[in-house]
Every structure is written in structure tokens, then in C-alpha cells.
């Protein structure tokens, strides 16, 4: 399947349209003022910040989506996204040793798997116009799931310590003692995405599809794109959280401050490196 994204009508709402949609913010501010919520300043700041951020991103995207530009710029953009996502994860789960390297690896592996399939099977053409937005979807969705799974695991290491030590005291390794909590955290991270995927089109019309329809694309084509995006999101979240779970699994002893398997992280990194290399080779073959 190759979706034609070119030749679509441009959706130009103009400054007047932008200002009119901004009026909705004024409604929100008015309600906040009326009900004494004290959110006026936050609403205005959020709206202004989103406007500035997206204008900058829109300007920067023009640099990479031009078919005449080198794909190197898309690659640079991609690397920046990966590094930023890993840095964000490291900020949210600072207690986990080597979390920056582990999450960077997880995002990279997720990108290789999901984008490898989409580009390898030529669902989309390999160009800046497709690489950057699709990678953004992969990294953005993986980021929230990874932070969620990381926090869940850290909470388990703290709040369920008695139960985990109960398993350790029976002679289980740190990895085995922690395994049920890792599985629970992974389920917690994946279930919302699965539910969202099941409810799509019934409860809500997803953003990519709405955007394409507003831009004048035929709804049937928009649906095809949306389905591929949903699968992309589900696949990327599953891949990233699974890699993170493997890393946490190898890292269990550190999390529990126990005296077992201190070299486990290094071992896991080596295993993941091999997995990345294997998948890269697979993608080359897929081309």
C-alpha cells in the first residue's frame, strides 16, 4: 500500500481563521474567571507557548520536508528527538541507573522496528516529509509509555518491597523476584494504548485522520493513513516498553539495592546492541 500524500488541497485557514480559533481560548479564560478557577494565566500561557513552539517547528520542518534537501537533515532531526526523549525519561526516572542510555536504546530500537517495517515495505516513501512526522509519532507515544512504565516499576520497588524481599528470602534471584511487578507495569503501560486502538472511530476520531480530512484528503485515504499510524503507535509503544522492561529486568538488583548480578545492565546493553544490529540487518534485507 502506498498512500498518495501529494496533490492534496492545502488547508490554509489564514490569520483570520487562526485568530477565530484562538477565540475558544478566550471562552476558556472567561469560564475560568467566572467560576473563580484561577486558571486564566495558565490557559493563556499554554496557548501562547503552543503557538510559538508549533510555529518554530513548522518553520524548521520546512527545512527537512523539501524533497530537494538531503535526508541527512531528517536524520539529524531524528537524533535530536531520540536524545531529547531519553533525556526527558532520565529526568522522570532519575533513580534508575543508566536510564538515559537504556531509554535511548529503547527508542532507537522501537524506531528501527516500526519505521523499518513502514519504509521497508514501502508503506510510505522514504523522504523527509515522512521520516520526521512518523518518527515523531513513534518517539512521542513511546516517551509517555516509557515514563509511565518507569514510574510504575520504581513505585513497585519501593511500595512492594516487603513482597519482593519475601521472594528473595525464598531464594529467588532479584530478576525473578521482580518479574511479577515488571509484568504488571508493562500491562499498565500497554492497556490504555490497546483500549484507545479498540475504541478508535467509535469514541473519537483520531488526530491524523481529522487533520488529513480538514486538509482536503479523501476520507478513505485518510482512514488508511490513520490505521497505519495507529498500528505504528501500538507497535512502537509495545517495542519500547518491552525493551525497557528487559532493561529493568536485568537491572532488578540495582533497583532493590540487593547484592546480586551487578553486571546485569552491561549484559543487557550488550544483548540489546546485538538485537539492534540484527534488526538493522533485517531491515536492509527488507529493502
Amino acid at each position: 500500500m502506498s498512500v498518495a500524500l501529494f496533490g492534496m488541497d492545502r488547508a490554509d485557514i489564514g490569520l483570520a481563521g487562526l485568530a477565530a480559533s484562538g477565540g475558544l481560548i478566550a471562552v476558556g479564560v472567561g469560564i475560568s474567571f467566572w467560576r473563580g478557577l484561577g486558571l486564566e494565566r495558565s490557559l493563556l500561557w499554554a496557548a501562547l507557548r503552543a503557538l510559538i513552539q508549533l510555529l518554530i517547528v513548522g518553520w524548521a520542518l520546512q527545512l527537512v520536508v523539501d524533497p530537494n534537501d538531503s535526508l541527512i537533515w531528517s536524520g539529524v532531526w531524528l537524533l535530536f528527538m531520540l536524545a531529547f526523549a531519553a533525556w526527558t525519561t532520565a529526568q522522570r526516572a532519575a533513580e534508575v541507573p543508566k536510564v538515559f542510555a537504556l531509554s535511548l536504546l529503547a527508542y532507537a530500537l522501537s524506531g528501527v522496528v516500526t519505521l523499518g517495517v513502514l519504509f521497508g515495505f514501502q508503506v510510505y516513501e522514504l523522504e523527509g516529509r515522512t521520516i520526521v512526522p512518523l518518527a515523531g509519532i513513534v518517539v512521542g507515544n513511546s516517551l509517555s509509555a516509557t515514563v509511565l512504565v518507569s514510574r510504575q516499576i520504581l513505585e513497585a520497588a519501593s511500595e512492594q518491597r516487603g513482597v519482593i524481599e519475601g521472594r528473595l528470602a525464598l531464594g529467588l534471584s532479584a530478576r525473578d523476584a521482580f518479574q511479577p511487578h515488571l509484568q504488571r507495569a508493562l500491562r499498565t503501560a500497554l492497556v490504555p494504548q490497546i483500549e484507545t486502538t479498540k475504541a478508535v472511530g467509535i469514541v473519537a476520531l483520531p488526530g491524523a485522520m481529522v487533520g488529513l480530512i480538514l486538509a482536503g484528503v479523501d476520507p478513505a485515504d485518510a482512514v488508511m493513513v490513520q490505521i497505519s499510524v495507529m498500528y505504528l503507535v501500538l507497535g512502537s509503544v509495545a517495542t519500547t516498553t518491552t525493551v525497557m522492561m528487559m532493561a529493568f529486568h536485568a537491572n532488578s538488583s540495582h533497583l532493590l539495592n540487593s547484592s546480586v548480578d551487578s553486571d546485569a545492565v552491561t549484559l543487557c546493553l550488550a544483548q540489546c546492541d546485538r538485537a539492534v544490529a540484527w534488526l538493522a540487518a533485517w531491515n536492509v534485507l527488507a529493502w
Binding site: 524481599e165 528473595l168 528470602a169 531464594g171 529467588l172 547484592s259 546480586v260
Partner: protein, 235 residues
């Protein structure tokens, strides 16, 4: 001092390196009977117990078990020989049998029922959801679970602190039964009545150091009044 030594601690320090909870602990713990570890709150009793199954490692000194350095023993191997029961019984999800299978994945229903009866519980509890057990039943189920690894020592960290008197007496009776069967019991307590009921030997820890160690009757005449108070020595 007992003639047969299980754990030997030599100049052991534990806790944060900059402010150890335990310092200079040197003692040989007997391999038989019940040794009760007493001391004021925060004196390091539980910390000491956690060193013996390597839930924590010392920051100084050396610990051996039957002349083998603990630091050289893989923790999972050590922990199957040195069972532990905690103040709050850690219950795993599922039935009592599911709990047993964490200790021994191969355990049969027959063995499960046998070990339940061994700790004074009804064999009919095997299929009960572990979360529905009473406090006393849960603690005895944890002892049964620990017995499935066939330990030679049982560490007990104030296991009756949260139990009513009947359940407390039942768990104490179980400890005595296991000691009589040859499983050494190291039991942390701050209940002087319990010390009098249970102890063959007593190790008194005060301010992170060994204040006294010996047979209960010996310590009844100890010169330090704090030690005598900790074991409820007759006036």
C-alpha cells in the same frame, strides 16, 4: 557459649558507611536451639538479621556460616538454606498452593497439605486465597512456605509483633517444634515475656554493639541492668 557454631561474626559493621547502625559485632551464634536477639528500638536487631541472609551486606568485618564466608556464597543459594519470616507476612498473589510454588515450583498438593499440617494448619487451606488468611494463619503459612526450601536455619524478625496472644503462642510453639527438629532459630524480639518463653540463648544489642551473649540463665545475673531489663530477668 554453645559448642557448635553456625554463624560467626567478626568485627562486623553495617548500615550507612558514614554512620553505621552496627559496629564491631563479634559473636559466634549457636547452630541449635532458639537464640533470641534483644535490644532497644533502633539498636540494630533487624539489621543484624538481614546480614545473615544477605538481604544487606556489611560495610566492614566478616561473616561466616559453618566456616564459609557469606560474601562468597550466592545469595539465592544461601537464602534457601537460611529461611526468613518477617514481621508482616509477605503474601503473594493466588492460593496458598500458589505461594508454596514460589518456594518450590515442583511442590505437589500432597506435600503442600503435609507441610500445612506440619505447621499446625488445616490441610484444607491449601486452595484458599492467601489474602483471606488471618494474621496468625498467614504467618504460619509463611513458615510452611519457608520450610519448602528445607532450610537449616530460620531467621524470624519479630514475627508475632502484629498477632494476638493466641496466634503468638501458636507461632512460638511452632518455632520450638522446629528447633527441636534441628532447625536453628534466630528470633528478634522486644517482648520480655516472649524472651522468657522462647530463648535458649540471648544476644543483647545495645547502641549497635554486643552488650551480652549467653544462655538465658547466665544473663539473668548479668552486671549490666539494661541487659537484665531487656530479658526480663527476675528481680
Amino acid at each position: 557459649m554453645a559448642s557448635s557454631t553456625g554463624f560467626s561474626l567478626l568485627e562486623v559493621a553495617a548500615g550507612p558507611a558514614e554512620a553505621p547502625i552496627l559496629t564491631d559485632i563479634t559473636v559466634d551464634l549457636p547452630e541449635h536451639g532458639i537464640t533470641v536477639i534483644v535490644g532497644p528500638s533502633g539498636s540494630g536487631k533487624s539489621t543484624l538479621l538481614r546480614l545473615l541472609n544477605r538481604l544487606d551486606d556489611p560495610v566492614g568485618g566478616a561473616i561466616t556460616w559453618r566456616d564459609e564466608a557469606l560474601s562468597a556464597m550466592p545469595p539465592p543459594t544461601l537464602r534457601r538454606q537460611v529461611g526468613t519470616i518477617f514481621q508482616r507476612a509477605p503474601l503473594f498473589e493466588g492460593s496458598v498452593l500458589d505461594n508454596f510454588r514460589v518456594a518450590d515450583p515442583e511442590v505437589s498438593g500432597e506435600r503442600g497439605r503435609h507441610v500445612l499440617e506440619h505447621v499446625g494448619l488445616s490441610a484444607g487451606l491449601l486452595d484458599r486465597d492467601a489474602a483471606t488468611l488471618s494474621g496468625g494463619e498467614a504467618q504460619r503459612m509463611c513458615v510452611a512456605r519457608a520450610l519448602l526450601t528445607r532450610p537449616e536455619v530460620l531467621l524470624a524478625d519479630e514475627p508475632t509483633a502484629a498477632l494476638d496472644i493466641d496466634a503468638r503462642i501458636a507461632v512460638e510453639g511452632l518455632a520450638r517444634q522446629l528447633a527441636d527438629e534441628g532447625i536453628a532459630v534466630l528470633w528478634v524480639s522486644h517482648d520480655t515475656d516472649q524472651v522468657r518463653r522462647l530463648a535458649d540463648h540471648v544476644l543483647a544489642i545495645v547502641d549497635g554493639k554486643v552488650a551480652a551473649f549467653g544462655h538465658l540463665s547466665e544473663l539473668d545475673m548479668h552486671a549490666d541492668p539494661i541487659v537484665r531489663r531487656l530479658i526480663g530477668a527476675p528481680a
